[in-house]
């Protein structure tokens, strides 16, 4: 029986391949950032934070979008796997948004002269970060699993409003945050665009790898809970 557990919870080959690809893509993107992308004329080398900063924000937003979709799917279908996906994606998304905020502050200091300004984009980002920290904490605090899943699904759907708000904040309101991608194209050179695309690809791969492993962890926890229940039933 222990062999059965070992086989079922072994690391799937697809995950090993994905992890290897993620590392290669990440290292490749980093090489492009430092060895291929040109030095920006105004900001100098500090501008190189841009590539992974934007890619990290993209993965954060995408992670919250997946939480939103999985939340809707859970409310419609009621299947546990959607709740697992929503929770895993929110946790990974929050990690990447945290990196975006930290590196954004590190970028702001030499460019704006301060680490933080309460302008629309940054304020919405701070609110968004707090909302998803609360989401992750909430998932661990409600004991009844079905109630927790339903509550988390609704919360994940409502909290997602911060993603389009954050995206449009720099377009709707006067803000210090630069607009790189607009309706008129991208305000950067082609080498910078390629580096950004490579960074986006690498981060997306890392996201997929992490979400797959995080959902596998939750499934293993479910299996353990089922076993504990079987043991307690046997004792009772």
């Amino acid at each position: 029986m222990a062999d059965h557990v070992r086989t079922r919870h072994n690391l799937p080959r697809a995950d090993i391949v994905l992890a290897a690809l993620s590392v290669i893509a990440y290292v490749g993107a980093m090489w492009m950032v430092f060895g291929y992308a040109p030095r920006e004329a105004t900001m100098g080398d500090v501008q190189r934070i841009f590539y992974f900063h934007v890619a990290s924000a993209w993965v954060g937003f995408f992670g919250f979008f997946v939480t939103f979709v999985a939340g809707v799917a859970y409310l419609v279908r009621g299947a546990r796997r959607w709740d697992i996906l929503a929770g895993a994606s929110a946790e990974i998304g929050l990690t990447f948004i945290t990196m975006t905020l930290v590196t954004g502050m590190l970028w702001a200091r030499p460019v704006w002269g301060v680490y933080w300004i309460w302008e629309p984009r940054l304020t919405i980002s701070a609110v968004q970060w707090l909302l998803y920290v609360a989401y992750v904490m909430l998932r661990g605090s409600v004991m009844e699993p079905e109630r927790q899943a339903r509550f988390a699904a609704v919360y994940g759907i409502v909290a997602f409003v911060t993603v389009p708000l954050s995206w449009f904040a720099i377009r709707w309101w006067r803000t210090i945050h630069p607009i790189v991608i607009s309706g008129e194209g991208m305000a950067i050179t082609s080498r910078m665009v390629y580096t950004l695309v490579a960074s986006l690809g690498a981060f997306t791969l890392v996201y997929v790898t992490l979400v797959r492993r995080r959902t596998a962890l939750e499934q293993a926890r479910d299996d353990l809970a089922a076993l504990q229940f079987a043991r307690e039933s046997g004792e009772g």
Partner: protein, 48 residues
């Protein structure tokens, strides 16, 4: 390279790696507990 860039890319390397490691370790502990529990359950099945 400016210190801000160095620290930023250190964050970009350490945090995802730390998260992956944390997920891996948490899962390994769950699987170990599960294996132990299944062995105990199968032992009890053989006794009865």
């Amino acid at each position: 390279m400016p210190i801000y860039v160095t620290v930023s890319y250190a964050v970009f390397c350490v945090v995802p790696l730390g998260l992956a490691l944390s997920i891996h370790l948490r899962r390994r502990r769950v699987v170990r507990d599960m294996r132990r529990l299944e062995e105990r359950l199968s032992d009890r099945g053989q006794e009865t």
